[in-house]
Every structure is written in structure tokens, then in C-alpha cells.
Symmetry: C4
Subunit: 196 residues, 4 copies
């Protein structure tokens, strides 16, 4: 939607080169000139008209710690709603859904995915450090959320990362709507029992 979100792909590991969408560009109208290259410090390579995304340091942190080939960051209403509702817990769990099987390495619905939530921050170096700490603390996580901001996920390829976005957006909406409906049924005695 509009200028929100940013996308990157690793084009080279030695030396480290990341292709990332320029800042303030409408993501639905990207042209070749709107994608810039950066090194591992976020400095632009080559002669360019625009600035790289303000969140370049976060993409670099994820690409290097997870060995990701592509990193995608999106804003959505349900991501934002859930980040707010679960901020106090530092994250929320998604488990038992068949749709989890599309996440890299997940073979069964009987899987518990913890989605860490970090407080938002305009200080990018500081936020990048906290992102790194979060990735180390949750080595199995496929994604994390910045509170009242958006979702970050990654994959070996752009297609893998895109599939993660699809799956997580679906699950966030499902959980959001279930929570909106479920407590009322619980209050009236219709508790959902997972042991069928």
C-alpha cells in the first residue's frame, strides 16, 4: 500500500551486496531505477538518484544472521492489530494450523510458531541491534513484528519470502478474527476444546 513496506534481495555475499527498494517510492509502481544496491554497512553502491530504504540496516541484519536470500517487510491492518493486542506478552504463538506447513522446515500442523514483537524505534542502528538480539534469542523464528509498524520475514528466495508473507497474513487475520469471536463463545460456555 503506497509507500509503506520495503523489499530486498541479496545479490552477492562476498562482497556483501543487497538490492533494496528506495525510500519513499510507491511499492505498487516500482521501476528498475527504484532499486538500489548497498554494502554491509548500508552505504549505497554506485551513482543513484534516491536513498535506500530507511530500514536498510534491518534488512542487512536479517540477511546476514539468517543467511536469507530475500527479506520482505510489509504493513497490514491485521499485523498492526495483533502487534498491539499482544505487545505486553512480547509476542504471540500460532499453533495447530495446517497453513504453518508452508513455513520453511515446518512439516506438520502440530507446530508452535512464536512471533516476537519488538517495540518500534526511529533509531535504526539501535533497532538493528535489537533485531539481531531477537533473531539470536529465537533461532527458529520465521518472522518478527515491529509494534504498530509491521511484519518482517525472509527466505532463500523472493518466492519463499513472499510465500511466508502470504501464510503469515492469512494466519494473523485468522487469529485476529478468532480472538474477536472466541471470547464471547467462551463467556457463554462454548469453550473450544483442542483435543478432538
Amino acid at each position: 500500500m503506497g509507500t509503506s513496506g520495503n523489499f530486498s534481495a541479496v545479490v552477492s555475499r562476498q562482497p556483501f551486496r543487497l538490492a533494496i527498494t528506495a525510500s519513499a517510492v510507491h511499492k505498487g509502481q516500482l521501476r528498475a531505477g527504484d532499486v538500489l544496491q548497498c554494502d554491509e554497512r548500508g552505504a549505497t553502491i554506485g551513482r543513484t538518484a534516491g536513498k535506500p530504504s530507511a530500514e536498510t540496516l534491518l534488512h542487512i541484519e536479517i540477511a546476514r544472521r539468517r543467511g536469507a536470500g530475500a527479506v520482505l517487510h510489509t504493513h497490514s491492518v491485521w499485523t498492526t492489530v495483533l502487534s498491539d493486542l499482544h505487545a505486553a506478552g512480547g509476542g504471540f504463538a500460532i499453533e495447530g494450523y495446517e497453513m504453518l506447513k508452508g513455513l520453511h522446515g515446518v512439516r506438520s500442523h502440530d507446530h508452535r510458531e512464536w512471533i516476537p514483537i519488538l517495540a518500534n524505534d526511529q533509531d535504526m542502528p539501535r533497532l538493528a541491534r535489537r533485531v539481531g538480539e531477537t533473531l539470536d534469542r529465537f533461532p527458529e523464528a520465521h518472522a518478527f513484528v515491529l509494534c504498530r509498524h509491521g511484519l518482517y520475514t525472509w527466505g532463500d528466495t523472493l518466492a519463499d519470502a513472499e510465500r511466508h508473507i502470504e501464510i503469515l497474513e492469512f494466519l494473523f487475520e485468522t487469529i485476529g478474527r478468532t480472538q474477536a469471536s472466541g471470547s464471547r463463545l467462551e463467556a457463554s460456555g462454548h469453550a473450544a476444546d483442542r483435543s478432538l
Copy 2:
């Protein structure tokens, strides 16, 4: 959405031949080579590049017990939300809706459709057996739901099965939203009275 869901159609009854979508193919980008043929044991017929859908045994179970010409399996947010909210009851009822008249053999809104909910399972032969037991136990059912997974329905033709998907998705969303709103009106004294 993406690689979720799977579709099949019976191309021959003697011998039994089922055409089914291949595993891990994006259902919005199906090409002829993405549809495989199986026999009644789920074994692929002919030389093919892909594997049949992991849920082939479920399609076979439905096609044979119900004499269906086509079987459709879809994932949707509302299906998943309702499957969760009503899992404890083993299913949920939909009655009194004009839209039920689009289901095969239903001539009036004054009809009660019971939607069985089965626990999900990665063991396909075991799940296929439970699907068979469910179909026998509820001979009038037009569909069933796998908890936190999705909807299965069928029909004489692909068009019939597709109409069932449309109708059931509409009704699931209607029921989901009614439940989300209704209990609050009940709590405040505005109980819905069906006897107009």
C-alpha cells in the same frame, strides 16, 4: 491462495481414475502438466513430473463413498475461524438460510445442514478412514471441515462443487460475523427470535 487447497475430478469409474492437482503447485497458476491421474489407491498413472496432492486419499474416499464427480478442498479465513470456535462440538449447524437452497437436493431455507469438524492429521491413511466414517455417519452432509485446516465439498460436476464452495463460504462468513455481533445484542436484551 497460493499453494493451499486441492481439486479433483473423476475421469473414469471403471477402472477408477481421478484427475487431481499436483502437490505444491500454485492453484492460481495451474497448467495442464499440473494435473495428474491416480487410481483408487492414490498411485500415479503414467509418466509425470510431480507428485499428486498429499491429500489424494481424502479425495478418493469422498469420490467413492459419495459417488462424486468432483471434489474441492479450499482454505479460507472464515472456515478456519469457525472450525476453531466449534471444534468442541464436533461440528456446527447452519439452518434457515435461503442460500442453503443451492446445496444439492435442498429445496427450502427450512433445512438444517450439519457441518462435521474432524481433527487434522498428517497420517493420510488414518485421516482417510476417519473421513470415511464421518461420511457414513452423516449421509446427508454436503461438506465437512478439517479443524484449523479447511473445507471439503463435492458435487456431480466441478460446477456443482464450485457452487457448494461459494455457498458455504458465504454462510461461514455470515455465521462468523453474526456470532461476533449477536451475543452482545443478546447480553443487552435484543435476542433474535426466529418465530416471525
Copy 3:
């Protein structure tokens, strides 16, 4: 959506001739042969392949009592949800919304529109009589709802009737979502005060 809903337009008043969509036709794929002509008793004029909509008698009742030039009947999730939540009251009121100004003859948001809700019925002559009684009882009404079925509205032209559908669907969704959110704010002390 699919085969649900039906549309009609009066092509002649003396003799009374109504053009109406045929039964069981996908409304998103209408062709010229899918529109039939009926007289004031619902009998088809001319040689046709299909049957007129099952609800032809309702269209005739509305066209004649209101002098409408076109009658539109649609199914939507929000119409169905609200019909259910308010069935006990025999209808529900919509007032104070700027969007009401698009209804024929309404010049201000300071208008109270009562939407009558009738129980559904498969006996069309009987339902048509009750529709007639409802239209007589509420001469100012621009629309009515069949419970767990759908919305009927009309206008001098198809464009007028279509504008009514747009406006009412918008208002039904707005009211549905407000009711879903509002009672919680009321419970916590944030009552909405209309006297600004």
C-alpha cells in the same frame, strides 16, 4: 454472487410487462437470452428457454404498489447478519447518516429509515401478499429485508435502484460493524452521545 439475487425492470405499464432475470442463471454472466418477460400474474410472454425468477411475484408486487421502474434483489453477508440480529424487532432503524441522502426523496441526514424484516417463505403467493401488506404499512420505506435471505429495493430506473443497493449495503455494513464495536465501548463507559 453466483445464481443468487434477481433483477427486473418494467417495460410497459399498460399492458403490464416486466423484464426479469431467469431462474438459476449466474448473475455475473447474464446474456440477452437470460432476461424474460412476464405479465402481471407472472406468466411468461413469448417463447423462452428458461423459467422466470422464482421470486417474480415479489417483483410484480413491488413494481405495482410502488410504481417502480426497476426492482433489485441481492444477497449479501451484512444484509443477512443484520436480518438475523434484528428479526425479533421486525426491522431496524437507520438514522443520522449523510449517506441516507441518496435515497429517493431524502434531503437530510436527519432522517429515520425503518427497514422492515419479513420472515422468509417458499410459498411465493403468500409471501407476495405479505410483501404487499408491508409496503402498505410502511409507505415511506425504500427497501425491506427477507430474514436470512436478502434485500429488496426499487427505483424509477435501474440506476436509481442500483444507487439504493449501494447506499443500503454501505449502511448495513456500517451499522453491523458499529454494533460489533459499540457495545464494548458502552460497557466501558464510552457511550456515543448523538447530541453534539
Copy 4:
């Protein structure tokens, strides 16, 4: 949606000339002849077929007090729902969201945007005066809402104003859905804690 909403752009400041969409025109089907020019009193310039939008005086008030280059007015379900839920408070606050950074002059998510809500009114000169008082009272506001009517926002250019519409509609939906879900979690002890 349909004939609702209206858009304007300042084409000249001395003399003041505002280009504004004509009244009762379908905004999805605008042609050149549907845009009229007015002076600072709302009187049409030149020979035209239609009348300017009924809300022209509001656009003039905003364009002159804020020095805006374009003014956009839209109706949406979430705007209408929130206007109703928060009417008693005279407005509502949006704070802490990254998406606020797209509003003119806002550099951080750590920003509190107050959205004033005015009662609707068919008396345009009177409403224009109240709009002027509101703009003076809240000099930092980027937008305001007319209760049960819609959203007004503006910008230096049409693109800026359009970006504001996108951002505010996103935030209204996010807040609406959070409020619909949040109170239940609060009631059950899962209070959202902003200090992560």
C-alpha cells in the same frame, strides 16, 4: 463509491479559484466536464452544466485557512463507524503508529494525532464556520471527520492529500478492529502494555 465524496484543487490564489467536482456525479466516472471552477464565495466561474459540490464552502474554508493545494473528502465504513463511537469525546487520538509518518511534517511514530469530530449539518455556511473554528482550535490537525458522514483531509498537492487519505483510512480500520478485539483481551487480563 458512487456519488459520495468530493475533491478539489486550488488552481489560483489571487484571484482565488478552486476546481471542484460537480454535485451528484459518480466519482468513479469523472470526466473533464464534471469539474467546475468556483471563487472564494463558492460562485461558479464560467458557463457550466452542473452545480458545484454542495460542500464547496467547506473546501474553500480548508483551502484558505490551511493554504492547502488540494482538499479531499471521502466516505468509508470505518470512518463512519469511528465517528459514531467517538462522537461523545469530540474526536479521538491516534498515536504510536509508524504509518503516522506519512502525514505532512510527522517524522516519528511517537506522535499523537487528534482527529476532531464535528456534528453533521445541512446548513453549509454554518458548517463552514464551525469547520473554520475547528481548524483554528487544532492548528496541527491533518484531518477532521463529520459525524456519520465522512473524512476531510488536504495537502499541498493532490498526491499529498491522497496519501493522507490512504494513511488515515488504514489507521481508522486498524483502530476500529483493535477496539473490537482489544477490550475482550483487557477484560480477560491481557492488557496491552505500550512500554516494551
